[in-house]
Symmetry: C2
């Protein structure tokens, strides 16, 4: 790492009203930091001299607690500060991720850290028998640290260990992001438990009026907290063409952050929007510092069961709060700001982590044709009280020996690495939404799933089975069984697990995005690493780039995946929105590859998948992930075997990625070079309006000939009326050639290029 002091100030006197300005390495992004007249930390942000963030306050409200106070009154960390130290340095390093969009990642930024001191004299002691509290001078210090990149900033609070701050409880973090105008935003309703909603595209001023519809859309909201609460990553676009994205990085031992647009109307939705949930929903408070900034977001952390937002021990820090900005939408996709703000890899040995292409016994249950559970005979079950050999099978249980063998054969034949099998283990009869604690044991197969035989068979064919751990969000139960569950995986040769957190968290009152649950997901990941197990956690927390530090986190869901096509549908714009939002935090197991997009062609399900066939192929490139499913059924792939060739071929790990064009919710075109090869894969995807793009092959080696296989929508293709109309053409290409691609409504294209 190159480290250079670019600026240094050590002032023992308060710096009130004096602003420090910090520039990114190329000068495009400029940060201003100062204390206002009340000693409130305040920052502003510009990009090429255009305002990105208006003056915005930083601070935390602390909770008063019988424990934390320890004989000393609590004070918020909001105002009354003075600056006692400032440090600035430029950092420039390049690192190599275990997997990802490129072989090398440059981490180049200007760092600025201000040490703030808040001094106060404790109140005169009240006469309490046996207590002799003397008034005392207190001094609490926090550090506000900024990293200023050419495409945005990260900022966080740091809390050094000190006599006056060892433990504290967070009532709310009050980090403001005051937007300079009524931007267009791509947002999800703020929710403590899920982000599986459809994205809303509105002006900031329309969030409130859209919220009710947004919450009802597809029926996915669980724990909405405000009529103006939204999730991150929040992608915005200004009227004059700036792209702004707010998210967070490295969320560890801290609650997930939401954003609340604070205005005069801000009130609690509480249970009205939350349905009949018994969970405690605290009313959000308006910003204690209203200012004439009508589009100001304030951080809103996910609470614990008691309504508190965090429980801290110094030395510690918050996650990074990130603001990405550019006048080129492609920079929103190519930026590594979130990964760069995460800690380096924590694992010494990563040889066991590998890109994984898989199929699985899954889609047919999602569509409703078969079942996870084995028997219909019991209205509810206790795991230990049933002789599974004697119960009557329902005849629809998918995870049976015969079917799993067919999937293994299919994977072996088509070069897929693994076969996921859901519903292999006892407990699915009454697993969901019953507040049932002891719902699964994660080690006992149903009688028609011969775990030893099937793993042996898979291995004999060069394939692995992928484990499935649905926790039903009964977290206490999962942790009790975790070690034995991982041991079973080691015993039979599984090296990856898809886990699930469907339903409300047990312990009751907790939320999917709370500090304690974020700790749980990390605990599970760390324990998995000890067993050399890769994790793909569904319905878990919102990713913030922790996969840099723990690269065995090869996937997450944490968004509306392909499964919703079988439930309510997703708009064609969905897949060209997610890379701007959800994928900022890390790869998603979106489960693409449904080539039979009309489900009624093989099931009772009347829904369609809202892309063309080729659009499905494009997703493998547009949605970067080291873990990709071929989600459809083997018999459906047989129908589209020529198109399936792209799924067989496509790589999952890359030396380089070039974004060709992009616009949130509209289209994304990207070319990626497969790791350790000279092969390129290009994907283009668009929304319901279709798209045309000229793909200039300027990234190919000069003087070299390549064969391109081009999977394109046919002229009359349309995701609704004619999804399966596509052409596959081969041609020889070279550097500088231009491929003129036309994407159908809801369509796209996919190209594989190999040197001849």
């Amino acid at each position: 790492m190159k480290k250079r002091n670019v600026w240094m100030a050590m002032l023992m006197m308060p710096l009130m009203a004096l602003a420090t300005e910090v520039s990114s390495p190329n000068g495009n992004v400029k940060l201003k930091f100062y204390l206002d007249e009340d000693g409130r930390p305040t920052y502003e942000l510009t990009y090429k001299e255009r305002t990105v963030v208006l003056p915005s306050h930083l601070g935390l409200e602390l909770a008063k607690d019988k424990h934390a106070s320890m004989g000393m009154e609590e004070t918020d960390l909001m105002e009354g500060f003075r600056i006692v130290d400032e440090q600035a340095t430029e950092q420039d390093e390049t690192w190599q991720p275990v997997w990802g969009e490129s072989r090398d990642i440059r981490n180049h930024y200007t760092e600025y850290a201000a040490t703030l001191s808040r001094q106060w004299r404790s109140a005169p002691p009240k006469a309490k028998p046996g207590m002799q509290l003397q008034p005392r001078q207190h001094d609490r210090r926090i550090v506000v640290r900024f990293r200023v990149y050419d495409e945005g900033i990260g900022l966080r609070y740091e809390f050094p260990q000190q006599p006056d701050l060892n433990y504290f409880l967070i009532q709310e973090e009050r980090t403001e992001f005051a937007m300079a105008g009524d931007h267009t935003a791509w947002w999800l309703p703020g929710d403590y438990d899920t982000q599986e909603q459809e994205t809303q595209q509105t002006k900031l001023s329309e969030i409130r009026s859209r919220m009710k519809e947004a919450v009802n859309w597809g029926n996915s909201s669980v724990a909405v907290f405000s009529e103006t609460g939204v999730q991150t990553s929040l992608q915005m676009k200004t009227d004059d063409g700036l792209y702004i994205n707010i998210h967070e990085a490295a969320c560890m031992d801290y609650a997930t952050m939401h954003l609340e647009l604070v205005d005069a109307q801000t009130t609690a939705l509480t249970t009205k929007l939350m349905g009949s949930s018994n969970a405690y929903t605290p009313a959000p408070k308006p910003s204690p510092y209203p200012l004439p900034r009508p589009f100001t977001f304030v951080s809103h952390l996910t609470p614990d069961a008691t309504g508190l937002k965090g429980c801290m021990q110094t030395p510690c820090q918050t996650p990074w709060r990130t603001v990405m900005v550019s006048d080129d939408a492609r920079d929103m996709l190519s930026s590594n700001l979130i990964l760069n703000l995460n800690e380096p890899c924590a694992l010494d040995d990563v040889s066991w982590i590998h890109p994984t292409k898989y199929c699985g016994v899954w889609w047919e249950m999602i569509v409703g044709k078969s079942s996870w559970h084995y028997t219909d005979d019991f209205p509810s079950i206790y795991l230990d009280n049933i002789d599974w050999q004697k119960v009557k099978p329902n005849g629809r249980h998918a995870a049976n020996n015969e079917k799993v063998k067919r999937y293994i054969d299919f994977a072996a034949k088509n070069g897929l690495d693994e076969v996921l099998v859901e519903g292999w283990n006892i407990g699915w009869e009454d697993w969901a939404c019953m507040w049932k604690a002891d719902v699964f044991d994660f080690v006992t197969p149903y009688p028609d799933f011969d775990i030893k035989y099937l793993n042996d068979y898979a291995h004999s064919r060069g394939v692995k089975l992928m484990m499935h751990h649905e926790t039903s969000s009964s977290v206490t139960n999962y942790e009790r069984h975790l070690e034995k569950a991982y041991q079973l995986m080691n015993d039979y040769g599984y090296d990856a697990v898809k886990s699930g957190y469907v339903g409300d968290i047990i312990p009751r009152g907790d939320y999917h995005y709370s500090q304690s649950m974020n700790n749980h997901y990390l605990y599970v990941l760390q324990e998995a690493a000890k067993h050399h197990i890769m994790v793909n956690a569904h319905e878990a927390t919102r990713p913030t780039g922790l996969c840099r530090t723990w690269p065995n986190l090869v996937g997450n869901e944490s968004a509306r995946g392909t499964e919703y096509e079988a439930f309510y549908g997703s708009k064609p714009s969905h897949t060209v929105t997610l890379p701007f939002t959800r994928f900022q935090g890390g790869p998603m197991d979106y489960t693409p590859g449904v080539l039979e997009t009309r489900l009624e062609n093989w099931s009772e399900n009347k829904h369609i998948v809202h892309t063309t066939v080729v659009g499905q192929l494009a997703l493998y490139v547009v949605m970067c992930s080291p873990l990709q499913m071929a989600a459809d059924l083997p018999q459906n792939y047989e129908k589209f075997d020529d198109a399936f060739q792209f799924i067989r071929d496509v790589a999952l790990d890359w030396d380089d990625s070039r974004y060709i064009d992009a616009e949130p919710g509209e289209y994304i075109t990207v070319a990626r070079k497969a790791k350790g090869t000279d092969n390129w894969f290009i994907g283009g995807k668009c929304n319901e309006k279709g798209h045309k793009v000229d793909v200039k092959l300027d990234f190919l080696d000069k003087g070299r000939k390549y064969e391109a296989i081009i999977y394109a929508d046919a002229k009359d293709a349309n995701y609704e009326t004619n999804p399966a109309a596509y052409t596959i053409t081969k041609k020889t290409v070279k550097q500088g050639d231009v491929l003129k691609m036309t994407e159908a409504p809801g369509g796209g294209f996919a190209i594989s290029i190999k040197p001849l």
Copy 2:
């Protein structure tokens, strides 16, 4: 087991207004059960024709929950019932506990079970898109089961598996106990987290006015919920000399029950009495069925973090609610009603469970002379970030090699089985009341505690070390480390653990007595059994006789133990109250044996222990427990070596127990025959008023001569002014002899008798 049908009725028609009467085997206790005019289950109880329980309703309020309703409206299980089946049988069996007060326990009762049906028609379906709810006839059945003993009853609710009742949430259990008069009661303030308060003795009508003082006493209340809420076991005495005790048995997968005296003034105390706790405190509701019964207790369950009381899956049942009654106070102590209502032993092999007499590195920390923690250098610590070899010791750390060796030598010399060592493991620097999650790892010793050497040394001297697991109530953390912690015990030869649950529960919002925490304690116990480990859990839930089913639960605290003598003091009446209340649920690790009752004689602590020296000896017999500590320091026992002989001699497990006289809060005299021997030990203990008792040795073998060693208070002995005045005399005794014993204020006596 002898099983006889004594009565049988199968009536398919409602039995409204017809009462069924069930008599105990000897006819003293009579139960009446019927449905009132609203179909509410109602019971009454008499003892020798005197009213014990006035007409009292049974029922449960269910919570409405988005999950449990599953498309069907919820209905409470309170009223509108009809009786569809009745069964009555007499049962008589004798069983042998693994340890306890007697070799054989007779379980003799009349059982009556009424199956109640509640039918309703679901509301007409509302027009919801996509949902076609038809009105439907529903039928929910519950069983109310009574066991009628000669000294009281148990009753419980059972919920068979059925189409209309698979999962449900309990808003509140509404079991009433309507007392027939303004009885004297020995009570503790109802509290979701602790029962370490001093017992209050008042009339029922005085509970409300005494509550504030009761809560403030000794500063032990944590989560008080009502001005008339009290804990069980609740001992009462009527003006005409009936003794009544309300408690519960076999509390598993259910919240601990409190009692609330419901009157017109019933309101919530909420945070006023609870201090600044952040915990959610639901307001208690008055009984939905007020009746002119001024002394009616209603059950009040401990809530979870969301305020709900229970989460149930059929088939299941509540714990037994018990009412013990007699006109002889001794029956309150000799009754095995609670144990009899628990399930038989669940362990096949109990050979590894043994009575244990122990000393330990503990009392000197309680008194304040030495410390659990190793260093004073850090205001807070992260376990993994400290090089313990390099930190500066504080010089007061008690659990060091040298001291532990002295305790081992002391135990070996005096025939004690084990040596408890608290403060042996890292983390004590900031362990309590910080909401700190990762507080202990339970496996890493401080640098001055050589775990291998000390265990080897102890074993070479025929002694075992006793493990200590303070969890700091960070339950998630404890469960994560449990298996490795138990494995460490197996590796080094520990076979018993004292565990602790000081402070508020993590996950935050949960309580020590909740359903989930009761599940935790049982989980820990079951995992311990797999490792052949005996458990003595402090600050855990209120015991309800589970030690019958899990006899490796050799002790609990769950009351105000000897430690409070070093904090605030306990009244002399305390130790003659606990056997009537706390000990109903199982043995207590009271940690008696503090012979140097004036702490200032060896420390800075100015408190005294509120008994005479001989009073301490008596506790080993009066407080029956298979686990008994000799709590004082070796150097103090050297000062009282002649009295200490009784502690060396006394047995911990018994073939027989004979209560000679007893009165709650006044005095208890009991003779016990040591298991497998002809030795008897007699203990007498009294309150501050002193006591005289004639001990007639009618239980000795006829024609046999015995040597009795009598430890008695000297004439001028007094717990405050002259605690160490005692006499030790030997005499030969035989069957029928009478020993006239005089107990000093706060004193007692102890006698060991062996055949010559």
